[in-house]
Symmetry: C2
Subunit: 461 residues, 2 copies
């Protein structure tokens, strides 16, 4: 049986795969705030991938969407055939910076250090390792002389950590149209529910992000000289933002909850069955108690309830001034049924309504994206769970996540095909922090899962 | 007549005085955030003053209060005599930095550039020029062969722009006791009411300053992963600070106005008689309209009403985080009758009462100082006005100021003598901003005023 051969090959090549992943993570392909030097490393990482794909017979190329973006890597499996379904695999080769903070790194973030079964390196888990697992799975199928059960298209971007500009434009301009119809997209850029708890993630929250500026005098002025005659933008800003979230976790922006789809009893039961260690959350966060809408269980609050957070406050300086401007950044996480454009408009209107009309108020850098949701009854759910079972030899669970991956929504919308979110890393892998790590056991089992998924998806068509 | 001789001498020496002041302002004696290099310049400025005082026969010395402070310059006039009253003159030889912003300076801030009758240099008006005027006045009296009508003690500090630590300790520890009883202290570190509007400043507002920190998770966390289960310190902070000042300018902290002494009808009438160009204020501030307690005239709001301002807001970053900590700085300006310790306690209690008790809240860097006020009927008011009239050949006005100079209150309290605030600079001299300037005409008329004041105070005793 071909899958069994491929799995055996993956087991045999475990060490080689780790070594090759080591080469990949040694390239410091930092994209956020990248300077000219970093740009070179991004190109190197893209070239490395193109080379790897080429070695296994894929037709791979760098796609330069515009002059100021990092190249996409587009790779298609050999012998595309109309008798097979086409599956898109998305990943990203760019990584976060390492100054968060640099001193907290116990190892060189780009030395591919292995310790206690972990590969400790920036990008190991987010997202080089998981992307690599899919590539190595395809390699294994081809290596044992089998024909891939599905046509594969890899689309690996280099700007996930800085706004996904190129891929957004590529998808919007029909770059994926030649592969239509897709059976599905597979993305391993979420997390497993926990160690030895592999999962299929059904949903992601959407997002509304906005920055607001409240203007005062044309420059910071002395609070002794002018205090009492000039309106203070800091005061106007806090007045406008006060009580946006009540002590009960309720969001007070009128219309915020409009359209929100209630959680089905079946899905509610699924999440209620998952183990939750509230004390561990408190330790991890360093808080005495958790907060929010206590009438909802913890996982529902994290995954299925919308939120509003003031991410940023800034105004003046710690001395006796009345500032020229006060700034805040606010983001909402949205759930299925909420319309991001309506939430965005409601938030802006509410804030503006709380500031005197004579005051200058600007909204900036707004972006929105709806929630993503795969129905529990979608026909690809069972095959995916079966593949995870085969790859991990563990029973998978269904989850959602609280974060937002706008490109998931964009790809789903443009391809009209479901996105299967099969996370291979852990939530504790420290994606954007120091000492990011990826379990080599997860890498191995994830590679097996990817291979099994190709066969499941090939049969399902 | 001796005063007439001294005034003539001052008129004759006008150019020499400007050149000597140029030497003084060429020393970049920046104290705020001073590094080791700057320390050397502070010592140079102190030595320059000691040298200048020595040349006119004063017994001058540097007083090193503690190892980490900048020296005070203490200088006493020749032939101290029990038959003359003693007058203390306070000033400061340190200056603000020049990076506020540096690029906005049209000249080298330490080149003593003269243009259109102005000396454009950091420290020219704040406070080297006005301090120098008093010294040159004493020099003139001695130069024409007269005996000083009062014993003079100059106390010139080097830390006015960074907290007045040394002089505060010096005064608190009885450093001025040997000169008791003082007739009064004279300070030229306020402003004239306007060009050709010399003034005696009767009052300064006091201050309560506090920084508050609200604590959340032990580090900034991802608002997607944890939004909905963790309390956001930014939200808690804005909730606590909302409405501290109402739209009507009223401060809502319970007990804030306790003890406030009403403005006398006589003083109210004095300020009502002063010309006020509200449109010019708007242009200067860059606002469409002035704000605050509109039932009080503009000058009363600036000088005689207490205020509360949120000077600083800070929390998180402009991306999707829930911050570990949110910070604010708040300052109140106080007027006669208000007890700073009570206002400080009321403010802290009010803010704490608005934050759930399980949340970590810290108050930091608090400092307080009461308002200063010289009674309209004090016997030294008339002699001072007469001296200004002589020096400027203009009719002076009585004013207050909205700022706070804690050392004024300290000196008044420890010496039990009034402080005469005779500003020689303009409010538009840009003390802490770029292109600070001092009118050479004001310097000259101020030097004349200082000489006249010595004679007035000598007669009044």
């Amino acid at each position: 049986m071909a899958l069994a051969d491929a799995l055996r090959h993956i087991d045999d090549q475990r060490r080689t795969h780790v070594d090759q992943l080591g080469e990949f993570v040694r390239i410091p392909s930092i994209s956020a705030g990248a300077d000219t030097d970093a740009r070179g490393n991004l190109i190197r990482a893209a070239d490395f991938l193109v080379g790897q794909f080429g070695q296994i017979g894929f037709a791979a190329e760098k796609v330069q969407v515009s002059a100021d973006t990092n190249p996409l890597v587009l790779a298609r499996s050999p012998d595309f055939s109309p008798d097979r379904p086409t599956v898109l695999i998305y990943g990203h080769y760019d990584v976060q910076g390492v100054d968060n903070p640099r001193a907290a790194w116990e190892v060189d973030p780009f030395a591919a250090v292995e310790r206690d079964g972990l590969l400790i390196a920036r990008g190991a888990s987010d997202n080089k390792g998981p992307t690599f697992a899919h590539m190595k799975a395809a390699e294994a199928v081809l290596a044992v002389g089998d024909r891939l059960p599905v046509d594969l298209v890899f689309l690996v971007e280099g700007e996930e950590e800085c706004g996904s500009k190129a891929i957004g434009q590529f998808v919007a301009e029909g770059g994926l149209d030649e592969f239509a119809p897709l059976l599905c997209t597979v993305i391993s850029d979420t997390s497993m529910y926990g160690p030895d708890r592999p999962s299929l993630t059904l949903g992601l929250r959407g997002i509304v992000y906005a920055e607001v500026e409240v203007h005062g005098p044309k420059q910071d002025v002395h609070s002794g000289l002018f205090g009492g005659i000039v309106q203070n933008p800091n005061q106007l800003l806090v007045d406008a933002l006060a009580g946006l979230v009540g002590g009960d976790g309720q969001i007070t922006v009128p219309g915020f909850y409009d359209g929100l789809a209630p959680l089905s009893a079946r899905e509610k039961a699924l999440y209620a069955a998952l183990e939750v260690d509230e004390a561990a959350y408190c330790r991890e966060l360093g808080v005495a108690a958790l907060a929010g809408e206590r009438q909802y269980p913890l996982l529902e609050r994290r995954w299925t309830r919308p939120t509003l957070d003031i991410n940023f406050l800034s105004g003046g300086s710690p001395r006796t001034v009345i500032p020229a401007v006060a700034r805040a950044a606010i983001s909402c996480r949205l759930v299925p049924g909420q319309d991001p454009a309506r939430v965005q408009a409601a938030l802006e209107a509410h804030i503006r309504s709380r500031i005197p009309s004579a005051i200058g108020v600007e909204f900036k850098n707004q972006h929105i994206s709806p929630a993503y949701y795969l129905d529990l009854d979608h026909p690809l759910v069972e095959p995916t769970l079966k593949a995870i079972r085969t790859g991990f030899e563990l029973e998978p669970v269904l989850t959602r996540e609280g974060g937002s991956i706008p490109i998931v929504v964009d790809i789903a919308a443009h391809t009209q095909a479901p996105v299967l979110l099969v996370g291979l890393g852990q939530i504790t892998d420290n994606w954007h922090g120091p000492n990011e790590r990826f379990s080599l056991h997860d890498f191995h089992r994830g590679t097996r899962t990817a291979a099994a998924l190709f066969y499941e998806l090939g049969q399902g068509s």
